[in-house]
């Protein structure tokens, strides 16, 4: 399925289950997403992570709603399953799509200006360097006997300095490779939204509407 449409679908469903309250639909969504993920060769470690980490907020909300909520245990279960529905719906997208494909389709099919698509992509590929830079900032502060924490303005200050400096270099590099802002582009890799994509999108979205309409528990 086209990554742009897929993200739209996942977000639309996530938004819808936030406004409706159906325990069974939540469970169905979790199961369907889970099976879909399994078919997409997810690593065992990633799967365990998907199940384990959301347990904390889900359990936290459950207990809190159970003890202090006015809507009883059924609503507590809805919230518990809602967290997992969000996570598994998100995973059906992130585990099967790359940010490159998303950027390309947003530019080609959703009319996103190319400077946004390629600018974001260029920056995103610096991710490993960003991890490194945060470590460098912290270590060099430690050398001066200063520990930087998430509440230290200096940590953010230095991170922003690096961002500004790197973006200057990246933008110049892109321009020197022939990137011109606000100019029409031809594409080496063409991503289209096919009729089949629309069938899946409308079909799946329709099924969720029907389920939410008939299953109120």
């Amino acid at each position: 399925m086209n990554p742009g449409l897929k993200l739209l679908l996942v977000m639309a469903i996530a938004l819808e289950i936030s406004f409706t309250q159906s325990l069974i639909v939540n469970v169905i969504l979790i199961c369907v997403s889970f099976i879909y993920i399994l078919f997409n060769r997810v690593t065992f470690k990633a799967l365990i992570g998907l199940i384990f980490w959301p347990l904390f907020p889900a359990l936290g909300l459950f207990v809190s709603q159970w003890l202090y909520g006015s809507a009883g245990i059924h609503f507590a279960w809805i919230l518990f399953t809602r967290i997992y529905a969000y996570v598994f719906l998100g995973a059906t997208f992130t585990l099967t799509s790359s940010i490159t494909d998303l950027a390309l389709t947003l530019e080609q099919d959703f009319r996103l200006p190319s400077k946004f698509a390629y600018g974001v992509l260029a920056a995103f590929n610096l991710m490993p360097k960003i991890n490194e830079e945060v470590q460098i900032i912290k270590t060099s502060a430690l050398m001066r006997g200063e520990a930087l924490h998430f509440w230290s303005p200096k940590l953010y200050f230095k991170a922003i300095l690096s961002s500004i400096q790197w973006s200057q270099n990246l933008a110049e590099a892109m321009t020197s490779h022939g990137f011109v802002e606000d100019q029409g582009r031809t594409h080496y890799r063409v991503i289209k939204i096919t009729a089949m994509d629309w069938v899946w999108f409308i079909g799946l979205f329709g099924i969720v509407q029907v389920l939410l309409f008939f299953i109120r528990y």
């Binding site: 993200l7 977000m11 996530a14 938004l15 936030s18 406004f19 990633a46 980490w53 959301p54 904390f56 907020p57 359990l59 936290g60 909300l61 207990v63 809190s64 709603q65 202090y68 909520g69 006015s70 809507a71 609503f75 809805i78 919230l79 969000y86 996570v87 598994f88 719906l89 998100g90 995973a91 992130t94 940010i99 400077k115 946004f116 390629y118 600018g119 920056a123 995103f124 610096l126 960003i130 991890n131 945060v134 998430f150 509440w151 303005p153 200096k154 953010y156 200050f157 991170a159 922003i160 690096s162 961002s163 500004i164 790197w166 973006s167 200057q168 933008a171 892109m174 990137f179 802002e181």
Partner: protein, 184 residues
């Protein structure tokens, strides 16, 4: 009114990524805090205590870039990044990012994108607090709590957002201004 250039887009994305990495450090703290408060049924408070850190990027980007849409864009980007790294909230993270970005944006919007000081920053902080709290009422069932608990959670969130997205953001901006990276 200035528009986004390629360099702005790259800078905003890099800032979003940097904040994403710093939030990553926060993950274990959030998990520990949530686990510790769960037996008392107060786990949502963990969310409210740390909320101010998670929404920092929006008000900050608004004040630094002074381009309409900066706050929304940076928060949306940060949430997409968070979803790809595998945050705890999956698909909801992107919706959450859009909401808190738009909330932060409101502070600058209501001042007509003309006021760039503590006033618009404070407005941004207040809007982001209110808007994200409404989001929690819907998404995470806050609306079913008693009024007392709601008031307590709201005050925690306001104080946290004021400290991190207000005071600390202002300190960051002052540092950048002193080093002449951004104009006054």
């Amino acid at each position: 009114m200035r528009k986004f250039s390629l360099k702005d887009v790259i800078t905003l994305t890099l800032i979003a990524l940097f904040f994403g990495v710093i939030y990553w450090i926060l993950g274990p703290i959030y998990t520990t805090l949530t686990a510790a408060l769960t037996p008392f049924g107060l786990a949502p408070a963990a969310n409210d205590i740390l909320e101010g850190v998670w929404v920092m990027a929006g008000p900050l980007a608004g004040l630094l870039f002074r381009v309409p849409g900066s706050a929304t864009l940076v928060e949306t980007l940060a949430s997409i990044v968070e979803m790809f790294i595998g945050g705890q909230f999956g698909a909801a993270a992107v919706i959450a990012g859009l909401v808190q970005g738009a909330g932060a944006e409101l502070g600058y919007l209501v001042t007509g994108y003309k006021v760039w000081n503590w006033l618009s920053l404070s407005l941004s902080v207040i809007f982001v607090t209110v808007v994200t709290f409404i989001r929690e009422m819907i998404f995470y069932g806050y609306s079913k709590y008693s009024l007392g608990l709601l008031v307590m959670l709201f005050i925690i969130r306001l104080v946290s957002t004021f400290i991190f997205s207000g005071v600390i953001n202002m300190m960051i901006v002052k540092m950048l201004q002193r080093s002449h990276v951004v104009s006054n």
